[in-house]
């Protein structure tokens, strides 16, 4: 009994030493090494791909924002109002009546807001993303907002349409994921355009 207890004690002691030394290797040295190289080689990306306008940081190219007002392109519905401190989605099933209701309402609201027929509103515009901070919308949703945004900013529709087309990113490497438009970058370009025209 005593011998087996001692044996167990020795084993647990070995386990603890193994855990501690591997914690140093995998939990301290490894992330430090990755951080060191990443900060030196990819400084901006390692720090969250900041977007600057007139020398001031106005957000991250990878984190969506809440846009209100007719003068901006809007993003997708968000569970948390685009607060990165609370990411996640609605979790409603594809048959859920509450989701069906919110989709129906969003479709009507967006169609009226942009003066387009309800059938023109694409799926991404009426559904919440997974992260609640999706930085992108579909090209279709961006195009749909063009006329409304142009009017509100007193720009020609052609100018805004060109901005949208310039900001459409295709699938990564041509085949990965879906085409998308970065809303913050599009709005930043829009801001520059309005400033120029005044």
């Amino acid at each position: 009994m005593n011998a087996s207890l001692r044996g167990t004690g020795r084993l647990v002691w070995a386990g603890l030493r193994a855990l501690l030394v591997l914690t140093v290797v995998c939990g301290v040295l490894y992330p430090l090494a990755v951080t060191g190289v990443a900060q030196a080689a990819f400084h901006d990306k390692a720090n969250g791909s900041p977007v600057e306008v007139a020398g001031k940081e106005v957000g991250s190219a990878l984190i969506g924002q809440k846009w209100t007002g007719r003068q901006w392109f809007h993003g997708r519905p968000s569970q948390s109002g685009y607060d990165p401190r609370a990411t996640g989605s609605s979790q409603f099933g594809a048959d859920d009546p509450r989701l069906a209701k919110s989709v129906r309402e969003a479709r009507e609201r967006i169609a009226a807001y942009n003066g387009v027929p309800a059938s023109a509103v694409p799926p991404d515009a009426v559904t919440g993303s997974a992260s609640a901070i999706d930085p992108h919308i579909s090209p279709a949703y961006a195009r749909l907002q063009t006329a409304r945004v142009a009017r509100a900013n007193r720009l020609s529709e052609g100018t805004v349409r060109k901005l949208v087309e310039d900001h459409i990113e295709g699938r990564t490497a041509g085949i990965l994921g879906e085409p998308h438009v970065n809303v913050l970058q599009l709005n930043a370009a829009l801001r520059a355009e309005t400033a120029k025209s005044r």
């Binding site: 106005v58 924002q65 594809a94 048959d95 859920d96 992108h136």
Partner: protein, 554 residues
């Protein structure tokens, strides 16, 4: 290019990349676990541990080392969370409550990474990187060590010795996981994942609002979470968070990392047993099931049945625009077919059959290709069962790889197979019988039941993904799911190692004309059949109450 063609090419690119590394990486891993040489850094580690890497262990000793290391892991991680406010880089977060700290510690040590907490609002940086992420490495290495011990059981004869656990653990970390993780972490940062030690910082947006942008050692944790088939996200949104998974390419890299070790280990197995074709037979069975899951989920999401999805014109609820339906489905199939549980889209909002397939993927026992190590040993157990069933049909004593599958061996295999269904169905039944189950559902009716079933399936099979509408952070669920994760991880290991010990002590039987050829396609087919029949019989009634009822109710 249309969506379908792009998604087909994406699948081809993924399979091509996996095929390309299969042979060199599988053989490399075989060499790692067979080599007699120790690297200098490994010698240093052995000295710190106080272990002799050359000492051979029989199965009870190997098992005791696994358990001792894991028990210490649970206690250490529990303590770290309970005292995180006293540690550096805590970001001001309070200690985690006891039930949740137990759940999380069990979860990460059991390679499950079920998360009843939200990373960005609960865990400090040190707890994440020196606590949780360390278990991402070592729990994966433990899984691989046990798988290799089972393979040695087939290879060795008349000895009962299975190798040295400490050596297998250290080699898995130092020679396999760390180098791959380091390189992929840098690749991920180059694509946009963040890697720093800052907390939230405030920015003033163009529309005049303020927003808090998070920081943290994200990329380094993200890659090992995929590579070690762990799945615990730095952020609550997991791999849907743009800082964890910024674009289509990073998404493909992450899926590749999830699958590379489980699929390549079949080559390691083939090489070690001296017949690579035996490995290909196992690989074929895994590949067929995985591909089937990819196709079912993708087809279901494309068709997007369901009132809300039909109204929206696509199954985009809970999916990111940069991924869309195809890349989300590919990720969902891969994460549930391995024991990863990372998500780039929320399975709760998938269509009934798409979500049901993610559930079925886990119910198959995480063996196609399964978790790192656990996938291989799980599939080899199924192979033993398939050989046994074939033996019954022709009336011969079954053999596999020259070892007799006798009463003792089949008892171990059968016990292994019974554990997770008992935990899943028992846990679900208990939760549904008590008020706790109903209170935790976000959804109603059949979909709500699926949330509970998914939770216990995910825990007991060490997956860790969730139908995340499920309110899991209650003392009842933290405790019961925590226990399911520990029992679902370590009880099967007991039987795997016992089986390995029993096989290793046998004298091999010569191959004769009557021996079942386990390297032939016929056997791969039998293996797929055994897996589906056993799972089907076990879980069909439960599935009928959940996703099947939901999908057929229209």
């Amino acid at each position: 290019m249309n969506q379908t063609l792009a998604d087909v090419l994406q699948l081809v690119a993924l399979v091509g990349a996996l095929a390309l590394v299969h042979r060199p990486f599988g053989d490399y891993m075989a060499a790692v676990y067979s080599s007699g040489r120790h690297l200098r850094v490994e010698r240093l580690l052995y000295r710190c541990i106080g272990a002799d890497p050359g000492a051979q262990m029989r199965w009870p000793a190997y098992l005791r080392s696994v358990l001792a290391f894991s028990v210490v892991g649970v206690l250490f991680l529990y303590a770290m969370q309970r005292f995180q406010d006293k540690l550096p880089l805590s970001l001001g977060f309070a200690p985690i409550d006891p039930d949740q700290a137990f759940n999380t510690a069990a979860s990460f040590v059991a390679n499950t990474n079920w998360q009843s907490y939200a990373g960005e609002s609960a865990m400090g940086h040190l707890t994440q990187m020196a606590g949780l992420a360390v278990q991402n490495f070592v729990s994966a290495a433990v899984g691989m060590a046990v798988a290799i011990a089972l393979v040695r059981g087939f290879v060795r004869a008349r000895t009962g010795e299975l190798g040295n656990f400490w050596a297998d653990l250290v080699r898995g970390v130092v020679r396999i996981l760390l180098p791959v993780a380091f390189l992929s972490a840098l690749a991920l940062v180059a694509m946009g994942a963040v890697q720093n030690f800052s907390g939230m910082h405030e920015v003033h947006t163009l529309s005049g609002a303020t927003q808090h942008i998070p920081g943290g050692p994200v990329a380094s944790q993200e890659v090992i979470k995929e590579l070690g088939t762990n799945g615990g996200g730095f952020f609550n949104a997991n791999s849907a968070h743009p800082f964890e998974n910024p674009n289509g390419l990073s998404n493909l890299l992450e899926i590749f990392l999830i699958l590379v070790i489980p699929f390549s280990l079949t080559r390691t197995f083939g090489t070690m047993v001296g017949s690579v074709r035996q490995g290909y037979a196992i690989l074929a069975a895994m590949g067929i099931i995985w591909l089937g899951s990819v196709l079912v989920i993708t087809a279901s999401e494309y068709a997007h049945p369901g009132t809300a999805a039909q109204l929206a014109g696509g199954a985009m609820e809970g999916k990111e625009q940069r991924f869309g339906e195809g890349s989300s489905s590919l990720f969902a199939a891969s994460t549930t077919m391995t024991s990863t549980g990372a998500v780039n889209s929320f399975h709760d909002s998938f269509t009934a059959f798409g979500g049901g397939m993610t559930l079925l993927g886990m119910m198959l026992g995480e063996i196609a290709p399964g978790g790192v190590g656990s996938g291989l040993y799980g599939m080899l157990i199924m192979a033993v069962v398939a050989v046994f069933i074939a033996g019954l049909m022709v009336g011969r004593t079954p053999e596999y790889l020259g070892k007799k599958i006798g009463t003792r061996e089949i008892k171990f295999a059968a016990s292994y197979i019974l554990i997770t269904p008992a935990l899943v169905l028992g846990g679900t039944a208990l939760a549904m019988a008590l008020p706790d189950g109903k209170e935790a559902m976000t959804n109603i009716g059949a979909h709500g039941f699926t949330e509970v079933l998914y939770a216990y399936t995910s825990g007991a099979n060490n997956n860790g993904s969730a139908f995340a509408g499920f309110g899991a952070d209650t003392p009842f669920f933290n405790t019961t799911i925590g226990l399911c994760m520990l029992l679902g991880r370590f009880l099967p290991m007991v039987f795997v190692l016992a089986l390995a010990g029993s096989l290793a002590s046998q004298t091999p039987v010569p191959t004769t004309a009557g021996t079942l050829r386990t390297e032939k396609p016929l056997f791969s087919g039998m293996l797929v059949g055994s897996v589906t029949i056993i799972t089907g019989l076990t879980f069909f009634p439960a599935l009928a109450l959940g996703p099947l009822a939901e999908g057929l109710s229209r």
